[in-house]
Amino acid sequence: METNKPDKVNPVEPDKVAAGEQEGPSRRELLVKGGKIVAGIGVASLLGNLGNWALSYAADKEPIKIGILHSLSGTMAISEVSLRDTVMMAVEEINAKGGVMGRMIKPVVVDPASNWDLFAEKAKQLLLQDKVSVVFGCWTSVSRKSVLPVFEKNNGLLFYPVQYEGEECSRNVFYTGAAPNQQAVPAVDYLMSKEGGGFTKFYLLGTDYVYPRTTNKILRAMLLAKKVPADSIMEEYTPFHHQDYQTICGKLKKFAAGGGAAVISTINGDSNVPFYKEFANQGLRAEDAPIMAFSVAEDELRGMDTSALVGHLAAWNYYQSVDTPQNKQFVANFKAYCKKNNLPDGEKRVTDDPIEAAYFGVYIWKQAVEKAASTEVDKVRKAVYGSKFLAPGGEIMMDAANHHTYRPVLIGEILADGQFKVVSRSKGLVKPEPWSEYTNPDKGCDWVGHQGTYQK
């Protein structure tokens, strides 16, 4: 509860003031010290913009509060806890290097408990009561939809780190995960290409909620546009927590007979294991009909019995196996962080796409705050546009107007150890398009030249 109180930040934090001193003198001393610094650096300010920064440094040394809105209990905890850990790690790194504009970052962690209504409530609490400058959070689309009105009404700022179905263009959200044209569409493009196997029949299989439905709507439109006959596209949904995939695998077998068929899976969460198991047990192989999954990443695979999954595919914008020096460092840091803080599974933890997106989201915000020299949402927002950052998986760039992120697209093959081998990589970064060219060709998203979603 302590962290949630509307605290008038107590300047006497033991690590900042010499031990044993009283509150009064220490504050005075602090101010004096600050004054000295101002005086010292004030001279330097003549040289440039530095003075501004120094003034603000002295004026409010109080930490900047940020909110972390990820489920720590309930069904989504399995995925979201890792994102909380990642954001905390990024904050620790930033604080260790002197914070943002010389101010420490103080995370306020709340637990919306995988409950969509609670997400909105907790978001309200973060914005109005804790007055955080920015919130990092949400995983499922339904939780994002639930907090959206809160952020828009109170002009908050949310960094959303997970790939999603698109068709959204909020002024108060930055989407660091993939839009449909950065994951689903290139994945199917790859399957249709000669190099990807030249597949001609597609079985779109998903859990019954907004993300799979919208994604499959886009994919169907795309396949039809590419002259795939309608009877070569099958679409099927299962309820959440579906466990019995016998009938579906039977249908799939019939569909795949004769070759050229691929499965596009948007199955979510705990239904994946029964599905892959049944698929293998009915005598189907990855060579007969590969399963291209959009919701299976390293974090879900660790601890899973991967024997039934080897050879199947996934599409993401980052894998732990991406070979860049900064990624090696990032993976090592993450494992070390989990071990040091005694988080469950410690060193066995892995990184994946949403984790990377959550991580660089914090840095994008930091850069923007430093550029804007303010934590005010309106100024920060402008500073985010077009900013770049060398993320673990390579350099990424925020779009100049549509609040989404330029990212590379990687197709990976599942290996026995739960890691991915990259089999295809996009040329450079892919521009994010929240409104798909296939389902909404006339719509665009622009917060600079237009007011959000506009008609082209």
């Binding site: 209990s73 069904t75 905890a77 399995i78 000669k194 190099e195 019954d208 099927e236 949904y237 299962t238 309820p239 927590h241 579906h242 466990q243 019995d244 016998q246 009938t247 579906i248 039977g250 249908k251 077998k253 019939k254 007979a257 004769g258 070759g259 050229g260 705990d270 294991v273 029964p274 198991k277 049944e278 293998a280 047990n281 009915q282 005598g283 192989r285 060579e287 007969d288 660790r302 601890g303 899973m304 019995d305 024997s307 469950p344 599974d345 066995k348």
Partner: protein, 536 residues
Amino acid sequence: MSTSFVCLVEKRFTIMMIFLGRTAATLSLIGLFLFSVQSWAIAGEADEPGATPPVVSSIEQALSQVTSEDESVRDAAIRTLVDQGDAGLLPRLEQIRANADRSTRQAIKPLMDSLKNRANLTSPSTDVRRSAATDLGSAGRVWAIPWLEAAAANEPNKWVRYTMEESAALLRLASDDPLVRTVAAAKLGELCSQNGVTALKKLVAVGEGTEATEPEKVVAKAAGEAIQRIENWGFWSNVIETCFRGISLSSVLLIMSLGLAIVFGLMGVINMAHGELMMVGAYATFVTQQCFMAWFPSDVFDWYFIAALPIAFLAAASSGLLLEATVIRFLYGRPLETMLATWGVSLVLMQAARVYFGDLTAVIAPGPLRGGAQVMIGVYLPYNRIFIIGLSIVCVLAIYYTLFGSNLGIRVRAVTQNRNMSACLGIPTRKVDSYTFAFGSGLAGIAGWALTMVGNVDPGLGQNYIVDAFMVVVTGGVGKLAGTIVASLGIGGLNKLIEPSFGAVYGKVFILVLVILFLQWRPSGLFAMKGRSADS
């Protein structure tokens, strides 16, 4: 023998000579001698002198030509390699491929796949042989036909032979000769091959076209007949598969409702934590597996699953005993409070599992329960499902024996029918209650153990199954085991009957609506208790 020995000795001698730097005359003399011995040996080995060296060189030549810019040269080279090469060339091709440009890489890929699959056709593992045959069939390279036919002739396994013949026929279907195509189509029809339907349909379409020639029409007719035959077979195999799926789902439903049928059905306790007792069984299986991994040699690993059965039963039974002694015993006869209290317990257990085990939990299926048995063309019965069907039958028999054939069973039935009277007759009702509850909980543990074979092990496992389990017990009629069995068969079968045409989501909706309607009509379920029971 003796010559080669001499040759060897001489060779060594030669090297020594060189090393020592003796005169050139000696060297050349011995070299001459060596050469003559060697050429004699080669001529002796190969019956036709001079035949072997050109083959070696033609492969070498082809290997150097596969990287050629000229497509026809490259194709000819690939052809040569296919005809004369074997899997031994793979490392070299891999090397060539690594350095080649994109078009060459793509040209070499099918060649390498073919050679690899050809080698795999003689692998000792049936799965590998079968995969290789399927791949050769779907790759569409005519050169694989003789390989497949040769392999099929020596193939001991019926289904692998089937796949080889099917693949060969599929490849022949692309032949230029209409007669070959007709024979191949007939063969596919005979084999009832689902994989052939797409290609056959194309032939039919060609034959029905306006510009079809006479032979094409003949082929189309044969293809049409084959399709008819395949579809006929497909219909029946579908019927059989649907029946199996229905039975399999029923057995899953049955095994998870058996424990509940005793706890809720016989004792009248609404235990919302029943699902979490299944979870306890599943986690007990997981823990046993981890112990086997850590402490036992890997060749006995598969036995962990057998060892986990009593452990899962005892773990769940003792949790049940504890639950009964600490919570439920104080709430007998107060269903609402029992429900709320046990629901609270279920939440506690779930979060405890989440905190303690996290998400790094997966039970690896033991070897014999992986994969499936092919019983007919196109019909696979997964071993894990056959296993669960068998297990549910065994459990039902065990319960019937316990309840109707043992002393404990008589007491249990007596207490559940009339508690006061049984107490009067000297039955320790308190003890019987806790044993019955523990037994029901233990059955939940067994269900959890078995369900690790089809689903995952996670804290939400109980929640996934509990609703279905209650539905089965209520529909079957509270207090009647036979009702539970019939209801699970009915619900499982109906679900699988509806699902193919309406999809999984509506399948579930339909079932729920049907259950509601049914309960309107017969509120006490399929098999209603007759006469006076303890509750009424």
